[in-house]
Structures are given as C-alpha cells and as structure tokens.
C-alpha cells in the first residue's frame, strides 16, 4: 500500500504546486548524515577557450594576408580556390561557422550603443581585421576567407548574367537587412543575422525546417546566379563594399595595360566588370546635372519621409522583443476571451512579477524601438538617395576595369586577359620550361 500512499502525495502536491511558486521551496530538509558520507562536489567542465582565440585570430589574419598576396601578386585563381576550400573547411565546417565576421557586426553594434555590454577581443578582431584589409587591398575577405562566400563560390556551376537594373535593385535588400539587424540587435530582440544564416545548416549539418528550406533555395539559386547571399543580402558585405571603394590597391584584370580587346567582358559571374565609359556628351551632361540638383533639393524631404515611415514600422519591429510579445500575450489573456496561454505567459504568472511592471517595461522598449525607427528609416532613405545620386554622376574611364565596390576579388577574370597569358608564357620560358 506504499504505492497508494505515493499516489496520494503526488496528487496533493500537484494541487499545491499550481497555487504557489515552486522554485525555492525546501519541502524535504536536506539530511545531516551520521555516517562518513560526503556530498559530492559539482563537476565544472570548462570551455575549450585557452589558446583557441589566438589560433582563430592567427588563422584569420594569415588567411587574409595570403588571400591578398594571391590576388595582387600571384594572380592565380587556382591558389585562391585552394585557400577558399581551406577557409570553408576550418571556419565553416570545423568552427561550425561561429564566430564569423558577419555575425560579429551585431555584437559590435550592441557594444557601441550599450555601455554594459562587453564582448571578447576575438569578436572585435573578427569584425575589424577584414575591414582594415579591405581598406588596403579590396575585398580579399569575401574572395577566399569568408566560409559563406566560399560555399557560394564553389557551388557556382553555370553563371547567368543579372540585368543591371535588377542587380542594383536587389542590392538594396542588403542595406535593409543591415539596418534591420542593427536595429533589432541594439534593442535587444535577437541577432537575426545568426538566426537566419542560410548556410550554417550546411556547416552544422543540422537546422530547423525554415532555415533548411531557405538555405536550400539560396544554394540552388547560387548554382546559376553567382553568390546570391553576398551580392543581395550580406549585411557585412555592404560595409566591405563601401570600404572597398577607398582601397589603397585594387584588383587589376590585366597585369600591364588594357588594350580593350573585350575578351574579359563576360568573365565576371558577379557582373563587376565595367566597360570603358567615354567622356560626357554635352546633352547627357546637362540632363544629369539637372537631375542631380533636383535630387539634392529633394534629399531632406525624402530623409524625413523615411524617418517617419521607420517610426511607423517600430511597433511591428518591437513585437520581436520577447518582453513586448509577452506583454501583448498577457494583455490579450486579460482582455479577450478564449485566448490560450503560452509557456511564457504561464511562467510569467508563476514568477510573481506584476503585470503593471511588465507593461511598463514593454512600453519603455517600445519607445526605444520608435527612436531607433527614425534612424532605421532615415538610413534607408539616405541609401536610396545615395544610389540615385551616384547614377547621375559619371566618371570617365578608359579601360575595362573591375568595379571597386562589386568586385569580390575571386580572380576568375585574370586568365581571360591576353596580356596575362603573355606574361605567364614569359615566366615559363624564363624558367626554361617550354620553348615556343
């Protein structure tokens, strides 16, 4: 009858547990042992830390340096490809895609806006090192170090050209993604870049259905459209793209002089090779000048419209914050009939915190979101106007050149240049390998 007794206790305690906070109760006082029994200590398995951050930083730095050397000096697509495979294996599959420079962007923005938030030096280093290298050598990071870029570059089978207007429109998505990621990270909602990383499922061979579907679709698109994530979504790529405009050295298609043979014209799967731009015809110059003036006059208006729209989007964005969505849930349960409780609301009611304090907390977060919304909308309006303004500026260009911002330094175009072939032949001849 011991079992019946047990069932009775269970039933009694079950009723009890509904009525009170069950977490700090000592229902059965811990015993004083008479024998020699000693309570075991906690095992505290520690992280692998130690030398790993140093190894990671050293590998990142040497990969960046090596990539820049291969792109600018050795000019060998094959070597770049090998480095790319290494980066994919180490930063992707071995480190499981974390820590990565793209995600570190969110830590850095929280760090800059929130005085209480501290981040490890490794994260700062992963964010900063590619930026500095980009200011010097262009996007070497995208070329052969970023594991996400490597996945897409390796799986590009049959490149299809994207029309320029579509390319420019889709690129705007990356700015939206960047602004949204910073906004939500700073407000404390979540790190969406990490949450919706499409290729992390491949690195970890494990993901939920949504990410699997999204990653699969992007991967298949990537068979035909080169680096779809890098070009149209990557928020870190947006920063690198702009810094690359300022780079000290840039990728050169030809090792010597361009003779406008047009052979490289279709070499770039990412649409980053610019054809020569002749000097301005008088008529277009006047038209463009007029457009530029109109755009500059419109700029403040568009900015304020953007900021206003951003602030109107704030309530929707605020809903991604756990405290706000919990407050909404509790409000629904209090004021509407037939609303089912969630795990979160059940826990909240058991925790003994008051509903008013939750509402106040949520209201504070909503206000923060509204303030952020002005910047979010303003930034996106600024980017839009910047794009339009750039369209009315024209820079005279004599040769076929890799576009500073769009070029990811993959090195595919080198072999298309006849001058490159010539210099390679000369090198082989110097070594006495082949005589022509």
């Amino acid at each position: 009858m011991r079992i019946n007794f047990l069932i009775t206790i269970f039933a009694g305690l079950l009723i009890l547990s509904f009525s009170m906070n069950a977490f700090t109760i000592e229902r059965f006082p811990p015993p004083q042992f008479e024998g020699e029994y000693v309570r075991p200590e906690h095992a505290n398995p520690m992280p692998r830390a130690g030398a790993w951050p140093l190894i990671d930083s050293a590998l990142l730095l040497s990969a960046l340096g090596l990539a820049s050397w291969l792109i600018h000096k050795k000019r060998s697509r094959k070597s770049i490809f090998i480095l790319m495979v290494f980066s994919l294996a180490y930063f992707g599959f071995y480190r499981k895609g974390c820590v990565c420079s793209i995600g570190a962007l969110q830590d850095i923005s929280v760090f800059l806006f929130n005085a209480d938030y501290t981040i490890p030096m490794l994260t700062i280093f992963f964010f900063i090192a590619p930026l500095v290298v980009t200011l010097l050598f262009g996007r070497s990071f995208c070329a052969a170090v970023c594991p996400l870029g490597a996945v897409q570059d390796i799986t590009l089978i049959k490149p299809v050209k994207v029309p320029a207007w579509l390319e420019h429109t889709l690129r705007y998505l990356a700015y939206v993604y960047l602004a949204l990621a910073v906004w939500l990270a700073v407000m404390g909602s979540s790190f969406i870049i990490c949450k919706y990383d499409p290729y992390v499922a491949i690195f970890r061979r494990n993901a939920n259905m949504n990410i699997l579907i999204m990653g699969g679709i992007l991967l298949v698109i990537g068979f035909f459209i080169g680096r779809p994530y890098c070009r149209f979504l990557c928020p870190y790529g947006v920063i690198l793209r702009q810094l690359s405009r300022l780079s000290r050295w840039r990728v050169k298609i030809t090792p010597t002089d361009c003779n406008q043979c047009t052979l490289c014209e279709d070499a770039c799967p990412y649409g980053a090779i610019q054809a020569p731009v002749p000097s301005y015809p008088e008529a277009t110059y006047k038209k463009d000048k007029k457009r530029l003036i109109i755009l500059l006059i419109l700029l403040p208006f568009v900015l304020s419209i953007g900021a206003y729209t951003g602030s109107r989007l704030a309530p929707m964005a605020a809903y991604t914050h756990p405290a706000v969505s919990l407050a909404e849930q509790i409000w629904m349960e209090e004021n509407r009939d037939g609303v089912d409780s969630t795990d979160a609301s059940v826990f909240f009611r058991a925790s003994g915190e008051t509903i008013t304090s939750l509402y106040e907390h949520a209201e504070k977060i909503r206000k923060g979101f509204k303030r952020g919304g002005y910047y979010f909308g303003g930034f996106l309006a600024l980017v839009l106007m910047g794009k339009l303004i750039l369209l009315s500026l024209r820079k005279k260009q004599a040769d076929y050149e890799a576009e500073r911002a769009g070029c990811v330094s993959c090195g595919r175009c080198f072999k298309y240049c006849p001058k490159e072939q010539e210099s390679r032949m000369l090198k082989i001849q110097e070594k006495g390998g082949v005589s022509l």
């Binding site: 398995p45 756990p322 795990d343």
Partner: protein, 190 residues
C-alpha cells in the same frame, strides 16, 4: 602611388579617397580602443538561470548540437536524499526499485545509491543525459528542486546567438563570465 600627374580631377579624387581611408582607419582604431578600455577582454558564455527555468524541455531539441549541450545537474546540498525521489521515479511506479519501468528518465541516466537509512543518493551520468528536463520538472514540482538544467561548457560551442535562448519561453538564458560559467542552485545553509 605617384600623384604627380597633371590631371587635377584625378588627384582630387585620390586625395578624397586617401582622406576617407584615413578617417575609416581612425574610426576602426576607435572601436578597438573602446574595446580595450571597456572590455578588459571579457568573454561570455551562455548559462541557464535555474530559478527562471520553466522545464519546458526545449533544451533537448533546440540546441545546434545533435546531442544538446544542456544537461541535468544535481545540487547535492539542496537535495533531500529522499528514498522515494520525485525526480527518479515515475509518478505511478509499479514498485519502488531501480527497474527501468519505474524511472522517469527515458535514458536511465540517474543512478540511485543507498547511503544510510532512509537516505539515497542520486547521481547523473551526463554521458547518458539528453537534457529533456523530465526529472527537473517533477523534482521542481514536488521535491526540493535540486535537479536542474545547466549548459555544459565542454560541449557548448558558444554560438553568438544561442539557439535555445531564442525559443526559451521564460528567458532563462543569460550571458555569464567565462571564468565562472555555472549557476548552480545553493541550499539555504550554504
């Protein structure tokens, strides 16, 4: 690069580029400086606050690792060493013994050892534990709550955004300093 060409436009462009590059480098230096000044190289790790855990069981399935990094741990100074343990036995066991059909743990990861009358010690074999929190739920509900969940840092890969923290209904995941990454329950007397 030589700037001694006569093309005025081009040299202005180069100058602007150099100036902006310098400004960007200074901004980057500023971020590093701020990191050194504020961070003191603080590294953080994810951990579960046991007093906020709602024992929903999502830790078992939401972790990016195939076998979750979250395991059940036992705080012995909170434990009542009950003979009939709510974290060990099924709510309606056939018999009070170690038979698998009587245990609540689906993996048989909890070991029950006799200490002295009427006390029994319960230890967790973490290599078997899958982090389902079934034992934690009943131990919290009916016992002292000495069984609770913790992120095990020899397994945790320390994701930038913990996948379990995203779905945790009670917001129990915290970032704690990496030097002391555990939040164990402590007894009243301790």
């Amino acid at each position: 690069m030589d700037n001694n060409n006569n093309d005025k436009k081009k040299s202005r462009r180069e100058f602007l580029r150099d100036a902006l590059r310098g400004a960007s480098l200074m901004a980057i230096g500023g971020v590093i400086g701020l990191g050194l000044y504020r961070g003191k190289n603080a590294t953080y790790a994810w951990q579960i606050d046991p007093y906020r855990c709602s024992t929903c069981g999502k830790c078992e399935t939401a972790c990016v690792l195939e076998e979750s990094a979250v395991k059940c741990v036992h705080s012995y100074d909170v434990c009542g060493y009950c003979k009939i343990c709510f974290g060990f036995f099924e709510p309606q066991p056939n018999a009070i013994n170690e038979g698998a059909e009587n245990q609540i743990c689906p993996m048989g990861a909890i070991k029950r050892n006799y200490v002295e009358d009427p006390y029994y010690e319960y230890t967790i074999d973490e290599s078997l534990c899958i982090g389902c929190a079934k034992c934690v739920k009943t131990c919290n509900g009916f016992g002292n709550g000495s069984l609770h969940m913790q992120v095990r840092h020899d397994r945790c890969v320390n994701c930038n955004q913990c996948a379990i923290a995203l779905v945790c209904p009670s917001d129990a995941f915290k970032k704690v300093p990496v030097n002391s990454p555990y939040l164990y329950k402590k007894g009243d007397k301790a």
